[in-house]
């Protein structure tokens, strides 16, 4: 009898332990492919959550500590994620004597489901957007007004370029790595940087007269856009850069070849925040920080297809599945990711997450 009770107790304890463990890291859970990665701010306990989009549930959560996870980039084989981590209190800090903590890029092994290392970006650097192109990670360091490039193979930051603009926040990089676009939130412009591996004097005829010794291997300029540019994305063919004006509800379309504005549209939307192209380049999902609807846009006709009711404000990001079947919208205020059927353009479900889901990305294995 005594034995039995003790046995039952143990089983209860064991199962309680197991279910507690299941919450964060189920031993048997495989990383699905494609997996939806969701960076959750978690009210000061940030994490990278791995969700199965088919099952519409989070299967793994990798804790990231007190810094706020911002942007996510994923290796082409879907095995490693890179997450920018910034000090949350930056904006609230007042005293010059406050110590400014380091900010990082966190390198996360998605298979082992753990953080491998942190790359130091600098105290108060406030790294934000991160994009992986041709094996290198491009990131904005908003606190330093620069775009940097991290080489994960050499484990070294191999390039930094100052934008000199205010709030260099969101970033888009062409697949060949030669065009970098940065939305500068408080400068009302987009920095465009041409990066190459030969001196600029040899590449840009207009600079040939200058002292070639001193010219860096890049050339930067700015393109004026709408008020408070925030979200920026390149079309899948890298021919157009689309920029949202958070302050005036505008959409500016930049021609990548000429760096000129092709068109400016009024989205009639409060605070358009992030945008994402479908893989075939035909549709664009635009979400707002202050609107209960998201906008599905025809990228070719450049007009609205539908406004889809999400039911909550403070939406952070929307992304479209690689197969184009569904779209996913992170709702910071509701601790969920809304799922939209791309055929019916209706919300068909939702994924519960940790507190404050924000940036999202796809992780797909090579086989996909």
């Amino acid at each position: 009898m005594a034995l039995e009770t003790s046995f039952i107790r143990r089983v209860v304890l064991l199962s309680a332990f197991a279910s507690a463990a299941m919450m964060t890291m189920p031993a048997a859970a495989q990383v699905p492919s494609p997996a939806l990665l969701i960076a959750c701010w978690g009210n000061g306990a940030g994490s990278l959550q791995i969700a199965d989009p088919a099952m519409m549930k989070v299967v793994v959560s990798v804790p990231l500590g007190s810094l706020r996870p911002h942007g996510i980039a994923v290796s082409p084989n879907g095995k490693v994620a890179y997450v920018t981590l910034g000090d949350v209190a930056m904006g609230q800090r007042a005293g010059a004597s406050d110590e400014i903590p380091e900010d990082y890029i966190s390198v996360i092994d998605l298979v082992a489901r753990k953080e491998l290392r942190r790359v130091v970006i600098g105290p108060g650097s406030w790294p934000f957007s991160i994009v992986l192109v041709r094996g290198k990670l491009y990131y904005t360091a908003e606190g330093y007004g620069l775009v940097g490039r991290y080489d994960p193979v050499r484990n070294q930051i191999d390039q930094m370029i100052g934008t000199g603009q205010i709030r260099s926040h969101s970033l888009a990089v062409s697949k060949d790595g030669e065009h970098i676009f940065i939305a500068n939130g408080y400068s009302d412009n987009v920095s465009t940087i041409g990066l190459w591996d030969v001196p600029a004097s040899q590449r840009v005829p207009g600079l040939a007269h200058l002292d070639t010794d001193l010219i860096p291997r890049w050339f930067a300029s700015t393109i004026p856009v709408g008020h408070e540019p925030e979200g920026i994305a390149l079309s899948p063919d890298d021919k157009e850069a689309w920029v949202l004006g958070r302050g005036d509800g505008s959409l500016s379309i930049i021609d990548v070849a000429t760096n000129k504005i092709l068109r400016t549209l009024d989205l009639k939307m409060k605070e358009p925040f992030r945008l994402a192209f479908s893989a075939d380049g035909k549709r664009v999902l635009i979400v707002s920080h202050r609107d209960t609807n998201v906008l599905m846009f025809d990228a070719v006709a450049r007009k609205e297809i539908k406004r889809i009711h999400i039911g909550s404000e403070i939406v952070y990001q929307g992304i479209i599945a690689p197969d184009g079947s569904h779209a996913f919208v992170s709702v910071v205020g509701d601790d969920r990711v809304a799922v939209i059927d791309m055929n019916t353009l209706e919300v068909t479900g939702s994924i519960s997450t940790s507190a404050q889901p924000a940036a999202m990305a796809w992780a797909a294995s090579d086989r996909m």
Binding site: M90, G122, W126, Y144, L214
Partner: protein, 363 residues
């Protein structure tokens, strides 16, 4: 045959003599930094040539010590810490050093202990950083990284880069900074502007979420090819030497606008430096080796001194403004100019290719 061996002998003798001279300067046991002292950076013609920091005694006009620099690249400019215990030298590569275009070459700060007269460390600034202008203030070193279009700040106490800031414009080269570091002026040689900015953690108001940024930067259009830049000791004016159009641009520090442009008769206005008493402005012509002296309040040329030395690279002053020390990169000397008599007084012979010069006083 005889001629040939004679020549060989002479070359060998010369080599031995040079080596001896070099080691005599470096090996002097118990050598201490004189006070005051002149710090002079130099590099030979080839990458493998000796390079380093020479210490001259301005009272005797002689080099008394030589500190080799090991950081890869060409030593450029030099500043000392406020207490005179450390010297910082920017060490850089030029684009023509890139034999393989995909090669990555770092820039460095060589940190030199002036008490031990030894290089302490090479601080890596990152690939393509091309460091140039230096300023020491508030216990920290401010550096322009031209290849990255950044200002970087190095804290020698923690041996860390603790702040960076991207600058608009291109070719951010030399800097002039208010003593309390509340304003940094950077001459951008490529985009013909001076960028003015402030470290955002300096006034306590920091972070990307405040709509007004104290470090918000302004671009001030000046003449073509601004490179040399200097702030008046009263911190009211900043002067730039504009290399490609031979002008001087005078910027008002408060309004951050150009208040006057002076067209000089000059070939290559590479440097401008204002005397510590704020009375005179010196402009070096790298092409002719002339030194132009302007009266600051009157804003006119008062004297032109010839034969100061070809390829003038930097100018330092004695604190009483009685003398200027001008490096002549192509002639291996520092010219000593008497600023009361307005004439060339003497030359301090240095190792080949002197670049930066700074005055340090530890007493």
């Amino acid at each position: 045959m005889r001629l040939e061996s004679g020549l060989v002998q002479r070359v060998i003798l010369l080599g031995v003599f040079t080596l001896n001279m070099f080691s005599a300067v470096t090996m002097l046991a118990g050598t201490q930094l004189p006070s005051p002292a002149l710090l002079i950076t130099y590099w030979g013609k080839e990458m493998a040539s000796p390079k380093g920091l020479e210490i001259a005694d301005p009272n005797t006009g002689k080099i008394v010590a030589n500190v080799p620099i090991s950081c890869k690249g060409w030593p450029h400019l030099v500043v000392a810490s406020a207490d005179g215990k450390l010297a910082f030298v920017s060490v850089m590569f030029y684009a023509h050093d890139f034999k393989d275009p995909s090669q990555i070459l770092n820039g460095y700060i060589s940190v030199i202990d002036l008490e031990e007269l030894k290089e302490k460390r090479c601080v890596e600034l990152g690939p393509d950083s091309v460091p140039h202008g230096l300023f020491f203030g508030g216990g920290k070193l401010y550096i322009t990284a031209e290849g990255q279009q950044l200002i970087e700040r190095y804290d020698p106490a923690t041996d860390k880069i603790d702040w960076r800031m991207g600058m608009s414009g291109m070719g951010g080269h030399m800097i002039a900074v208010k003593k309390d570091v509340s304003k940094i002026f950077v001459a951008n040689t490529v985009s013909d502007v001076v960028t003015v900015l402030e470290p955002w953690d300096h006034q306590g108001n920091r972070g990307p979420h405040v709509t007004f940024h104290p470090w918000m930067q302004k671009m001030i259009p000046v003449g073509k090819g601004p490179e040399g830049i200097s702030m008046s000791p009263d911190e009211k004016e900043v002067w730039t030497a504009d290399r490609r159009d031979g002008t001087l641009s005078i910027i008002d520090v408060v309004s951050e606008e150009v208040v006057k442009t002076i067209q000089m008769k000059i070939k290559d206005a590479v440097r401008v430096k204002i005397t510590p008493d704020g009375k005179k402005v010196l402009v070096g012509d790298a092409a002719t080796g002339e030194l132009l002296i302007y009266d600051l309040p009157a804003r006119n040329e008062i004297k032109r001194i010839e034969n100061v030395g070809l390829n003038i690279h930097d100018i330092a002053f004695s604190p009483d403004s009685s003398r200027a020390y001008v490096t002549a990169h192509n002639e291996s000397h520092v010219a000593v100019v008497d600023l009361n008599k307005l004439e060339l007084e003497s030359r301090i012979t240095t190792s080949p290719r002197p670049e930066g010069v700074a005055w340090v006083d530890t007493k």
